[in-house]
Amino acid sequence: MAKLILKKTPMREQPPEERIHNFNEVPYGYSEEEAVAEANRCLQCKDPPCIAGCPVEIDIPGFINQIALKNFQGAIDKLKETNFLPAICGRVCPQEDQCEKYCVLGKKAESVAIGRLERFAADWEADKGKVKIPPQANPTGKKVAVVGAGPAGLTAAGELIKRGHQVTVFEALHKEGGVLVYGIPEFRLPKAIVAREVDFLRQMGVEFVASFVVGKTQTVDELLEEFDTLFLGTGAGLPWFMQIPGENLNGIYSANEYLTRVNLMKAYLFPQYDTPIVRGKRVATSGGGNVAMDSARTALRLGAEKSMIIYRRSRRELPARIEEIEHAEEEGVKFEFLTLPVAYHADKRGWVKEMECIRMRLGEPDSSGRRRPLPIEGSNFKIPVDVVVVAIGQSPNPLVPSTTPGLETGKHGNITTDVATGRTSKKAVFAGGDIATGAATVILAMGAGKIAAKAINEYLKTGKW
């Protein structure tokens, strides 16, 4: 065996002082040489624990071995056996909590950079220009409606078209991709990549109907008159606010609005694009997940002199991907840990001028296993701000459940499903992704789309519910 190299092959990136002035992707991705070098670090374990850490069980040593052998087509073929969107997952999956967490190398050294290799293989195929269309089963004559073109819906659509069903995807927004187009910024996930994957589905025969709000334009029951079955992948699009004084002042955005304006509507190109955004000088984002990191880093790129993250727990509890936290730190985002906003104060014109916060300390662990933040009485202080982004979470949008009789929901408004099949309480209706789990991850949404597709296929074959 070759000598153990302790560190991951570094990935070249735009330097922080440069990249905070543009929206271009931050990491450049591996070159062929770098990818091969990194692939050679893989121990090719007989009983690879990394696979169990992957929600869609990619044959990880298998695809890495192909890269080591310089058979890049082989690598992408292997990936696509189980993962439909590798260019996206390679970029946005929390690998440190999944595959890379279980990598045997990780015990002594840095784990293999599985995510970067996945991204490399997918980009290699795209750069080559010709993407292989997988074989499709003979047409079954069955019609499936997929609601929502996020990762869950796109995956389900891909799996179902492969099995010969006719698939139509209905999307409320004017562009497909879900969070991948409206939420995750260009500098982390170029929109051209999402468009490429959607295009790929189109080439396979999936029909897309954009600007179609199920529950409003037509209801689930109406769609069921035309389609044999339906998959709901409508995501967790309802932004939370904290219900604290002053939260509706000018300059205070939900992360969804802030990111949608910038990503989907391209407000960073205003006035070339019509949608405006307030470019704050001092921007405070409350929250600690990927959404918060994305917002704080977006603020810098919109010209903020100071971009702050206000988080009620400590650095250790930040739920964001490590890479996002590191990138944010490198770019100069300031973190205020153990801090909770309690009110906003306005200037004379009704714009937010100060965020009033209280300091926190960590108490006993709560149900999530993380230590519960407790307020320190009398520790209130004010931070001068001119834009605030509230990124404390989101829950499923009630639009579909509220217009669909017979569809059961749980206490946070998520659609109740059977995890093994994605089946809902309503006949012929399946669901998966954030709408079922609450806000989670791209890969889990894809996994749910895949599971449901399998069950839908069964249902269409047997007619048994």
Binding site: A172, L173, H174, A210, S211, F212, V213, K216, T217, Q218, G237, L238, P239, F241, Q243, E247, N248, L249, N250, G251, Y253, S254, N256, E257, T260, R261, M265, K266, F270, P271, Q272, Y273, D274, T275, P276, V278, R349, G350, N397, P398, L399
Partner: protein, 279 residues
């Protein structure tokens, strides 16, 4: 789909489009709206569905040219296609037999009040309508409103037509005359809706207003459209647009409508420079 089948110029700055949107036309109810986007660079703009004709598959929208997007929209011609039209959105207006209703429209607000008035009339209500404008040539939909009203009053700010004054003055006059009113519907500039709500408040006349905050998606996903009603935050696009005028925080709405004042000016200036640029 989304083709402009008919365009009419109603006043110097107000235009009417009939747009081919069969699915939306089939479902739209009074009080609902669409969100539209003119082209790839366009912003998402909410607009009330003034009329839906399901048999023809068309909806009617009326808009005032105020900012860059609406000015650009005004240059579109019959046969042109609007990139996206999404809807019907929002909760339909409450249409019941209330008895005697007053329907009030100010400026371009007459357009959204029209379908509600019509539905209330068809429901068997006694309809008193008050429509107002700055001056005579800006009075909107007079004939249509007259046809569905038992009584119609017109006001103009400058007195060039009808009563001189505001719609709220006319309402006060009717109340003072002792007219029994069971419900009021008021749509127009925020200040007008606020004043009308203040006029009716002492008499306990339930007053419904239709709010017009800035929106992005129109489906409850962003919170741009949040307003305060009875001290609670609501999303206008999914909880409204109709709300109880006696509970609405109008000052907050007015404030939030000014968020992009600066950007709107920039957009308009840029657009002016590139004049002639068409869709």
């Amino acid at each position: 789909m989304n083709r402009i089948l008919k365009k009419r110029v109603l006043t110097s700055e107000i235009k009417l489009f009939e747009v081919e949107t069969p699915l939306i036309a089939k479902r739209a109810l009074p009080g609902q709206f669409v969100v539209l986007r003119l082209n790839e660079e366009g912003e998402r703009i909410p607009m009330t569905i003034v009329e839906a004709r399901p048999e023809e598959g068309v909806i009617l929208i009326i808009f005032q040219e105020v900012g860059k997007s609406t000015k650009q929209m005004g240059t579109m011609k019959e046969g042109d296609v609007i990139a996206d039209v999404i809807g019907p959105l929002g909760v339909p207006s409450e249409i019941e037999k209330f008895g005697r209703v007053v329907c009030i429209g100010g400026g371009v607000g007459v357009a959204p009040v029209y379908p509600i008035t019509k539905a209330l009339k068809e429901m068997g209500n006694y309809v008193i309508s008050i429509i107002g404008a700055r001056s005579k040539d800006l009075v909107l939909l007079e004939e249509r409103m007259r046809a569905i009203s038992d009584e119609l009053y017109i006001t103009t700010d400058d007195g060039s037509y009808g009563q001189k004054g505001f719609v709220s003055d006319e309402l006060q006059r009717l109340i003072d005359q002792g007219k029994k009113i069971d419900r009021a519907i008021a749509i127009g500039p925020v200040i007008m809706m606020k004043v009308v709500s203040e006029v009716t408040r002492p008499y306990g006349i339930k007053t419904i207003v239709s709010l017009n905050p800035i929106m992005v998606d129109g489906t409850g996903m962003c919170g741009a459209c949040r307003v305060e009603v009875g001290g609670e935050t609501k999303f206008t696009c999914v909880d409204g647009p109709d709300f109880d005028g006696h509970l609405v925080n109008f000052d907050l709405l007015m404030n939030r409508l000014r968020i992009y004042e600066r950007e709107e000016k920039i957009a308009l200036e840029e657009y002016g420079q590139g004049k002639g640029r068409n869709l």
